[in-house]
Amino acid sequence: MNEFGDESAKRHIYPTDELTGAEIISYWFRDKIFLGLPFKEYMRTLITPLNIAAGIVVMAGLYLILMRFIFGLDQITEASNEQPWGLFLTWGLFSGVPFSGCGFVVGTGVYIFALKRYQPIVKNAILLGFLGYLFAVIFLMIDLGRPWRIYYPMIISFGTASVMFLVAWHVALYLTVQLFEFCPSIFAWLNQKYLRKLAVSATLGLTIFGVMLSTLHQSALNAMFLLAPGKVHPLWYTSYLPWLAFISAIGAAMALMIVVSKLTTIYFRNRASPEYLASIDDITIGLGKASAFVLFTYLGMRLISITHEGSWGYLNSPIGYWFLVEIGLFAIVPLTYYYGVLKKNVKIIQVTGVFTMIAIILNRFNLTLITFNYQLPHRELFFWKEALVVISVIIIEILLYRWIVNRMPVLRDHPDFPNDGH
C-alpha cells in the first residue's frame, strides 16, 4: 500500500467542473482515503501477511473487550479488591502517557524556544502525542467500571480534592489541545486553506496551554500514588513522586522521538521528504545530548529522594535487588547517551533510546503494579487476556498511525504549504 509516487501529480488528476456529484465523491475517496488507487486495487494492497496477523490479534482483542462489556471486568482481568488496577492502566495510562509527552516537549522547543533544528519532527511528535492520549483514554474506557459516565468529573460532580479529578480534567483538555495542534496537517490533507490558517494562528496559545496541562497531569499520574503510602514500596514512595514523573516524562518523550524517528526512516521512507530523512541524524544527536542531561537530573533526584525518605535499608531484599535492576538501567542510559554524543555515533544513541524506554516502562510497572501491595502474601499481577487486549489495542494504535502518516503531511510539508513551519 505504500507504492505511491509523486504527490503533486496525483492531486490534480481530475477536472472537478466536468464531473457529476457521485464522481466527485468517488474521486475524493480515491484521492484521500485509498491513496489514489481504485477501491479494489487498494483493498488488494491491504492483504499482506503482516496485516492478516495483525487483523487476527485485533479481532481476538476486540472479542475479549466485548466480553468485558457484556459480563463485567472479571471476565478478562485479574483485578481484585486488593489490586484494583491492572495492566490496562499500568500500560495505557501510567506507562503510555509519559511517552505521549513528546508533543509538548518538541512543540515547546520549536514553537517557544525557536529551536529550528527540531522543526522536521515536530508534526510527528504532535501526532504521536495525540494518539498516545487518545489511546490512554481508550484504555481508561475499557477499565472504568461505568465508562458511559466518563464525562461526570467535568459536568456532573466535582471531587476537587482528588488528584484523579485533576488528571481527568487535564487529560480531556490536553487531548483537545493536541487535536487542535495537529489540525494544520489534517486541514492541509483536506485542502482547507482558511481553516488551516486559523489552526496555525492558535499555535502559540495552544503550545503554552499544553505545557501548563502537561506539567500538572504528567506529575499527577504519579501523585495519585501519594495517597497509598502503605501500599507503594518505600523504595518508590517519596514525596518527590510527582516531579520524578514529570522529569522522566521529558526523558521518555525524547527517547520515543529518537526511536520512532529511526523507525520512520525505515518504514515510511516514501512518505517522508528528503529534508526530513536528512535531518534525523542531527536531530538524534541533539536529542541524545538533551536526554543525557535530563536523565542525569532524574537519577540525581531519584537517589536524593530515597535518601531523604531514609529507605536505603530496604535494598537487601528481593524487591531491593529488583530495584537495583531498574536504577541500574537509569544509571547507564545517561552515560551511553553522553558517550554516543561524544563519539557522534547515532546508532549508540538510538539503542540507548530503546533502553531508556524500557527503563521508564519498568519504572511505571514497578510503581503501579509489580511492587504495589508488596506486603500482601499472595498477589496476581495480570491475566493473559489482559495482555492480549493490550497488545491488540497497541496494534490498532500503530495501524491508525500508519493510516494517518500515509495520507497526511506528517513527515513532509504539503506542497501547497511549503516551509511554513507547521
Binding site: 459480563f71 463485567g72 471486568l73 472479571d74 482481568t77 483485578a79 479488591n81 486488593e82 484494583p84 515547546t108 514553537y111 517557544i112 525557536a114 472504568l144 467500571g145 461505568r146 465508562p147 459516565r149 466518563i150 461526570y152 468529573p153 456532573i156 460532580s157 466535582f158 471531587g159 476537587t160 480534592a161 482528588s162 488528584v163 484523579m164 479529578f165 485533576l166 480534567w169 490558517k197 496555525v200 494562528s201 492558535a202 499555535t203 502559540l204 496559545g205 503554552i208 496551554f209 505545557v211 501548563m212 506539567t215 500538572l216 506529575s219 499527577a220 501523585a223 495519585m224 501519594l226 495517597l227 497509598a228 503510602p229 502503605g230 501500599k231 510527582p242 511554513d420 513551519g421 507547521h422
Partner: protein, 304 residues
C-alpha cells in the same frame, strides 16, 4: 515578536486555567468534623466470635446468601476481608491466637475515617463523609474508577467486578438508613455481648478510655482509631497487641488529604508561572529585523 492577539489568548487561557485550579486547592482544606458525629466501638475482649453481626449485616443490607452458613466456624481458618463476593456481608470476623492461648476475635469493616482516603481519592465526590458520621457512597455518580480501593489503607471497599452494567462499590455504610430511621446499626443490635457499641464518637472515646483506666491489665493502653489515619469513626480496644490482630501497622496518624495537598497547591502556581515564563521565552527567541512590524501583514511575520 508576540502580538496583541497572542497576549489576549495567553491571558484568557491563564485565567481560565487558574479558575480551574482554584477549585483543587480549596477542596483540600482540612476537615473539621461535626463534633456530634457518630461512631462505633469494638471491644475485642468481649467478642465471642459468634458471627451474628455478619448475619445481621447480610439481612439488613439484603445481600446475597453466603457460601457457607453464618454459624460455620471453619471460616476462621483463614483471615478474611469484608468483601461481599467472598463473605456475603459488609463485615467479617477473624480469629487470632491470644497470648493466654485463648482465641481472640476481631470484626473487620469500613473504619469510617474522619478524613477518609477514599473520599479524598474520589474524582466525582461519590464517596463522602456524611455530617452524621458514616462514609457513604452515591451510586448515581460513581464512575467505577476504583481509586478509592487503591487509596484505602484498610483494604475495605470492594467493587462488583462481575457486573458490567451496574457495578457497585460495596462496603459498610454504618447502616446509614437505619440510623436515619432512628435505629442502631444491625451488627451492634445483633451483638449478644455488647462487643459492638454505637454512639457519638466523643462519648465512645471516653467510654473506651474509662474501660482502659478501670482495667489496665485487661487492655493495651491505646484506642485504635483515636488518631490512626487522622482519626477513624470506628474504634477498637483490645488486650492483644493490635498488630497481632491484622491491623495495618504502617498507617501513621497523618490524615489522607494532607498527602496530596502539597501537590495540589502547585496547580495554581504552575498555571500562572508557565504562561509568563514561556511568553517571555517566546519573545526573547523570536526576533525580527527593525521596521518590519508595520510593513508586513501579520500572518507572514508571526511565525517566521
Amino acid at each position: 515578536m508576540i502580538n496583541r492577539r497572542d497576549l489576549v489568548k495567553i491571558g484568557v487561557t491563564a485565567v481560565a486555567a487558574s479558575v480551574l485550579g482554584a477549585g483543587n486547592v480549596l477542596g483540600s482544606t482540612d476537615f473539621e468534623g461535626n463534633p456530634e458525629r457518630l461512631g462505633m466501638l469494638t471491644d475485642t475482649t468481649r467478642c465471642i466470635g459468634c458471627r451474628r453481626c455478619e448475619a445481621a449485616c447480610n439481612k439488613a443490607n439484603n445481600l446475597p446468601a453466603p457460601k457457607t452458613s453464618f454459624e460455620d466456624t471453619s471460616v476462621f481458618e483463614e483471615e478474611r476481608r469484608p468483601y461481599v463476593a467472598d463473605v456475603g456481608s459488609y463485615t467479617a470476623v477473624n480469629r487470632f491466637d491470644g497470648e493466654d492461648g485463648k482465641p481472640v476475635y476481631r470484626k473487620v469493616q469500613c473504619m469510617h475515617c474522619d478524613e477518609p482516603a477514599c473520599v479524598t481519592a474520589c474524582p466525582v465526590a461519590a464517596l463522602t463523609k456524611s455530617e452524621e458520621g458514616p462514609v457513604v457512597w452515591d451510586q448515581s455518580i460513581c464512575i467505577g474508577c476504583r481509586y478509592c480501593i487503591t487509596a484505602c489503607p484498610f483494604y475495605v471497599p470492594a467493587f462488583e467486578y462481575s457486573s458490567a452494567f451496574d457495578p457497585k462499590i460495596q462496603k459498610c455504610f454504618m447502616c446509614n438508613q437505619r440510623i436515619k430511621d432512628g435505629l442502631v446499626p444491625a451488627c451492634a443490635e445483633a451483638c449478644p455481648v455488647e462487643a459492638i457499641q454505637f454512639g457519638k464518637k466523643k462519648d465512645l472515646l471516653k467510654m473506651a478510655k474509662l474501660r482502659i483506666w478501670d482495667s489496665p491489665d485487661k487492655y493495651v493502653d491505646h484506642v485504635y482509631g483515636e488518631t490512626e489515619a487522622g482519626g477513624t469513626g470506628w474504634m477498637y480496644i483490645s488486650k492483644l497487641a493490635f498488630e497481632k490482630m491484622g491491623f495495618p501497622e504502617n498507617i501513621g496518624t497523618t490524615s489522607f488529604p494532607k498527602l496530596t495537598k502539597d501537590f495540589l497547591s502547585m496547580v495554581n502556581l504552575t498555571l500562572v508561572t508557565w504562561p509568563a515564563l514561556l511568553g517571555g521565552f517566546y519573545m526573547a527567541s523570536h526576533k525580527k529585523p527593525h521596521g518590519e512590524h508595520d510593513e508586513k501583514p501579520e500572518e507572514e511575520i508571526k511565525h517566521e
